[in-house]
């Protein structure tokens, strides 16, 4: 450990950025596993340990990165304060979407399975769409490409609206509660995940005071 002092230095913020992106990869892994269980009818017990371990890894990474951010400010002063505040918000969002994947898994663990239902194709397509958004969000954290970020935010807002509309649709359906409630809850979780992914991308491109807010500053886009 002492020898780390003599190693070639690389930026601490670069290390934080890399770890943040790998946290997002872990969050996607949890999401894919949890959604697959609920949509494929796989045995939840078979992947419960993996989901649990991934969640612990995300939580530990968040705690370590928070400490590293404090050290960064203590050592480097306030020059990066905007970035540091942005990172604290961003890390919390990744931790939340990790938790939301766990919530989806809990639905499956409680016996919900949509694998044999008629509307399964719609759910599978939506799951793939959201899973791909994790990858895009990670790319945008690394590239800070404003144009792609704006496009991503527009699509995430549209998807958020779709998820919200689906929740309303299931609330008012004539179908029995055992059919409608799991679907409404799943869409509700997906809506929250999409909103947090949008928040993550916003934090990469917007000044810290604008994160979580739309341009007019009036509407909170974080749905937690």
């Amino acid at each position: 450990m002492v020898f780390s002092f003599f190693k070639k230095p690389d930026s601490a913020l670069d290390h934080i950025a890399h770890t943040t992106i790998s946290m997002l990869g872990d969050a996607r892994h949890s999401f894919d596993l949890a959604s697959t269980v609920i949509l494929s009818g796989a045995d939840p017990k078979a992947i419960g340990a993996d989901i649990e371990a991934t969640d612990e890894r995300i939580n530990k990474a968040e705690q370590d990165l928070r400490s590293e951010l404090v050290v960064h400010v203590a050592v480097q002063g306030g020059g990066d304060i905007g970035l540091v505040l942005g990172y604290t918000l961003l890390l919390k969002k990744i931790e939340r979407i990790g938790d939301q994947a766990k919530n989806i898994f809990d639905l499956a663990a409680d016996g919900v399975s949509l694998s044999n239902d008629d509307d399964i194709d719609e759910f599978v397509a939506r799951r793939q769409e959201i899973s791909q958004m994790y990858v895009e969000a990670a790319d945008l954290l690394a590239s800070h490409d404003d144009e792609k970020a704006k496009d991503f935010l527009a699509r995430s807002l549209a998807l958020n609206d779709i998820c919200g509309a689906k929740v309303l649709e299931y609330m008012h359906t004539e179908q029995p509660g055992s059919w409608a409630v799991p679907r409404a809850v799943l869409y509700r979780y997906w809506k929250r995940i999409v909103a947090n992914l949008a928040g993550i991308v916003t934090s990469a491109i917007e000044p810290v005071q604008n994160i979580d807010y739309l341009d007019d500053g009036a509407t909170d886009i974080t749905d937690d």
Binding site: M1, S4, F6, P9, D10, A12, V70, A74, Q76
Partner: protein
């Protein structure tokens, strides 16, 4: 050096190689400052020298002068370098310098204690920050309480240091041909000749050289520290993260020492710990050994200053500083029964400080200003 706004500094950073050369140049200027100090005292003549330093014959007076001087310049590196310069001039003996060096060790802790007062509005943060700052105070006061009487009774530190410096550069009372001394001698002679154009009075000439030497030593140390901090900021950050990841102990002492040697300032190392402690990311038990490493690391500056001196006694005093801090760690950190004492005392004091914030201010003013002033008045 004009300071660029942070945004501009990011666009126009000084290349690392240029900054490294700048640091070497600053170290050279620092050594010229020490040499000018030494030369100035010599020019003043024996009578003035004796009248200047007769007040610190009593070891406790020396100790309190060491505290006050260091509090004044907020840097033990600077104050110990000045002490080394005085010893190099022959105006101050090793016996008188040793308590001053110990006082400098106590005085330097004021900086991080002042930094901790910045957290005074948040009770939880303040408790942790104040404890992290004062653990350094308690350790240094305990070290002096044990080692100063021992040194006065046995000369164990100064004899050991004299033995080592004897092996390295020759015995006391002789002159040694420091290679660095040769490099810094010429600029000091130029300064002396230049000032000699304005006055023939040895006291005025000597005082002018001493003042210029002091200014050069203090300002060069400030710029060395600033540049080194920039140069090693990433390493410093990684080292602190390593302390967080693996906990305290001897590795933390080594990291504290390495960082302080690099930035030439224990105050930088210990002050970085304060916001980390306040935020709760580092525990008091893990921060404590880093401060002990900083104590040892900061002695490098006096040793560096001794390189510009022509008398072995200057190196002896520098080595006393190192031996004092190493011995203090061996006594108070390695021996398990003593290890938790500074931590417990710091935690108790932090509880009192949180209970009544004015006590914290009273502690700082009392310990670092009033007590030393009273001590000097009594023991001079």
């Amino acid at each position: 050096m004009p300071k660029l706004p942070p945004a501009l500094a990011r666009f126009f950073p000084l290349p690392r190689a240029v900054r490294a050369v700048l640091v070497l140049l600053l170290i050279y200027i620092f050594l010229i400052g020490v040499s000018s100090l030494e030369g100035g005292i010599k020019v003043m003549g024996k009578e003035t020298q004796e009248s200047l330093f007769s007040n610190v014959d009593h070891p406790l007076a020396g100790l309190f002068v060491g505290i006050l001087g260091t509090v004044l310049v907020q840097s033990s590196s600077a104050s110990t370098s000045v002490i080394v310069g005085l010893v190099a001039s022959g105006a101050l003996g090793v016996d008188a310098a040793v308590p001053m060096i110990m006082g400098a060790n106590i005085g330097t802790t004021v900086t991080n204690t002042l930094v901790s007062l910045g957290h005074v509005r948040q009770s939880h943060e303040f408790r942790r920050a104040f404890a992290a700052a004062t653990v350094h105070d308690f350790f240094n006061v305990m070290a002096v309480a044990i080692l100063l009487p021992l040194e006065l009774a046995t000369n164990v530190l100064s004899d050991s240091a004299e033995w080592i410096s004897g092996k390295m550069v020759g015995s006391a009372g002789t002159e040694w041909e420091s290679p660095i001394k040769k490099w810094v001698k010429e600029p000091v002679n130029w300064l002396k000749d230049f000032l000699g154009n304005f006055t023939d009075n040895p006291t005025v000439l000597g005082t002018s050289m001493v003042i210029i030497g002091l200014v050069v030593v203090l300002s060069s140390l400030i710029f060395i520290t600033k540049n080194m901090k920039t140069l090693i900021a990433e390493r410093l950050e990684r080292s602190m993260n390593a302390v967080l990841g693996r906990g305290g102990g001897f590795v933390a002492i080594l990291i504290g020492m390495l960082v302080t040697v690099a930035v030439q300032s224990s105050s930088i190392t210990t002050s970085i710990l304060i916001p980390m402690s306040a935020a709760g990311v580092i525990t008091l038990r893990n921060a404590y050994p880093v401060t002990l490493g900083a104590n040892v690391g900061t002695t490098i500056t006096a040793l560096l200053a001794a390189l510009a001196a022509s008398r072995p006694e200057a190196l002896t005093v520098g080595l006393v500083h190192t031996l004092f801090n190493v011995t203090a760690i061996l006594l108070l950190f390695v021996i398990p029964i003593f290890r938790p004492v500074p931590i417990m005392l710091a935690e108790k004091l932090a509880d009192v400080a949180v209970y009544k914030r004015m006590y914290a201010v009273g502690y700082v003013v009392g310990t670092f200003i009033v007590l030393p002033l009273v001590g000097v008045a009594i023991f001079r």
